[in-house]
């Protein structure tokens, strides 16, 4: 359905980060970090908790102050936050708004007219059109995260940054949401932060393991086949082993 896919009149932007550095409480989380993220693909940042994955994502989103030597380039037109949509660990639905009002939050905040038609179509895509006028409190955790996904898609940005958006869900709901996200985000440049190697293997075209202190990004792992994949297929068991090795090494290095 055209409503969810990103218009392909321009190529989805790549992201390149040079010399990224971030200090937290006097200690370097990472320093001199370079990474290039390909446009139009799903990239996973995998790493142990507290290594700085979320901070790197927030740096790209423009939510962390950037040091003067850090260069973040989004696509060819440089450094525009307007190209980026951000989805956090929690659904962040506003409890005083209805589901549909939450989906159109961006327009409300920018003082624009909300495209209710499109919001309803997106809610339909995530299977929650019949709950459009409910308050978030009436929804389950999985439904709320689906609304958050619809809200992210509503922004219709070419770059989507996701910070462990499925971490708090049960295995079955998580699996369904991963499939839905993979389907709805096709064609966009997606960066997904996760600590779950299976999630990375399921969704990513490419996986970076982030490890150490200050943290560095390991050589990228290309995952064959189109996401969403069956993560326990034998073809990926070798990759799973490699990822676990890297993560274990990362953990002992810390």
């Amino acid at each position: 359905m055209a409503i969810a896919t990103y218009p392909s009149d321009s190529a989805p932007p790549s992201i390149s980060i040079e010399n990224a550095g971030l200090h937290y409480a006097g200690r370097a989380l990472f320093e001199g970090l370079d990474v290039r993220i390909e446009g139009g693909r799903f990239t996973c940042l995998l790493g142990p908790s507290g290594v700085g994955k979320s901070s790197l994502l927030r740096l790209i989103a423009g939510l962390e102050p950037r040091a003067s030597e850090t260069v973040v380039r989004l696509g060819s037109n440089g450094n525009s936050r307007r190209d980026v949509a951000y989805m956090a660990q929690t659904d962040l639905l506003l409890p005083w708004l209805t589901v549909i009002e939450n989906v159109t939050l961006g327009a409300r905040l920018r003082g624009e007219r909300a495209d209710t038609e499109r919001a309803r179509a997106l809610l339909d895509r995530v299977g929650l059109l019949d709950r459009a006028d409910d308050r978030p409190r009436a929804l389950s955790g999985g439904m709320r995260q689906r609304v958050a996904l619809a809200r992210t898609l509503m922004e219709n940005r070419p770059i989507v940054l996701m910070d462990e958006p499925f971490a708090a869900l049960d295995a079955i709901t998580r699996g369904r949401l991963q499939a839905l996200a993979a389907e709805l985000l096709v064609g966009r440049t997606v960066v997904l932060v996760t600590h779950d190697p299976l999630e990375a293997l399921r969704l990513a075209h490419r996986i970076h393991v982030m490890a150490g202190r200050p943290a560095h990004l390991g050589e990228a792992l290309e995952v064959p086949g189109m996401p969403p994949r069956d993560p326990v297929a034998t073809a990926h068991l070798g990759l799973y082993e490699t990822l676990l090795h890297r993560l274990t090494a990362a953990d002992t290095a810390q």
Partner: protein
């Protein structure tokens, strides 16, 4: 049961009151029996009602002005960091001065009429409203603000669409406290100097040993305050349906 419970409590208290009168044999000018108070209430009911009207007006005006000033102050404090550094200590220090000690001054400056009592009620509720709303505005989930910033929201839009609505439950708690304490301000103001109001009536009756009238006025004040509190509570709950029930 919800209807029965308050009735049982009220009758229990009346029974306790009556039995204390019986057991101690206290004279009516010390502790009048319930039926004497009811009789006094009927006798002076028109005067009681008009005085209650005066007190109610003082309370409602005090709440309205105090709440508006408190809301404005909290918004100012949370929006201007520099101003907050100067004003917050002043605000806290001002609470160290007992408001009751100011009552004679207020009567001296604003006269025996309505203004001094409204000022008392305003002063007494200003602080709880300001502090609770300011606290609510300060405690907005930073992740909500990040989300809004990623949607290119201006600071004003974040205040209007996220921080103010998120702080409304805190403001509601402040208003509940305000409504509960506002009658104290009005009555203290009336004690210091007034020509009308339930506080004035109590003082007047006290000086004439009309203890039963004093009790009738006290009872009227209690009913007024409780009714005002519950009315406010119901309105606030209606307005904030999204807030999880405690």
């Amino acid at each position: 049961m919800t209807v029965l419970r308050p009735i049982v409590v009220v009758f229990g208290l009346l029974l306790l009151w009556q039995s204390i009168v019986w057991l101690t044999g206290a004279p009516p000018y010390i502790l009048p029996a319930p039926e004497r108070v009811v009789a006094a209430w009927w006798r002076v009911s028109s005067s009681l009602l008009s005085n209650a009207g005066t007190t109610l007006l003082e309370i409602v005006l005090g709440i309205a002005i105090g709440a508006l000033l408190g809301i404005a102050s909290a918004l100012t404090l949370s929006s201007f960091r520099r101003l907050r550094l100067w004003l917050l200590p002043v605000l806290v220090a001002s609470q160290a001065v007992p408001v009751f000690a100011l009552a004679p001054l207020l009567v001296l400056w604003l006269g025996y009429g309505l203004a001094s009592k409204v000022a008392m009620a305003t002063l007494i509720i200003y602080f709880p409203v300001t502090v609770s709303f300011f606290d609510g505005l300060r405690r907005t989930d930073p992740a909500w603000i990040d989300l809004a910033r990623s949607m290119d929201a201006s600071p004003w839009a974040i205040l209007r669409h996220i921080r103010i609505p998120a702080a409304l439950p805190a403001l509601a708690s402040g208003l509940r406290v305000a409504v509960a304490v506002a009658p104290i301000g009005a009555v203290v103001g009336e004690w210091v100097g007034a020509s009308a109001g339930l506080g004035y009536m109590m003082l007047h009756a006290n000086g004439r040993m009309q203890t039963d009238v004093m009790f009738a006025a006290l009872l009227t004040l209690a009913v007024l305050s409780v009714a005002l509190y519950f009315a406010t509570d119901i309105v606030l709950k209606r307005l904030l349906t999204w807030q999880p029930d405690r």
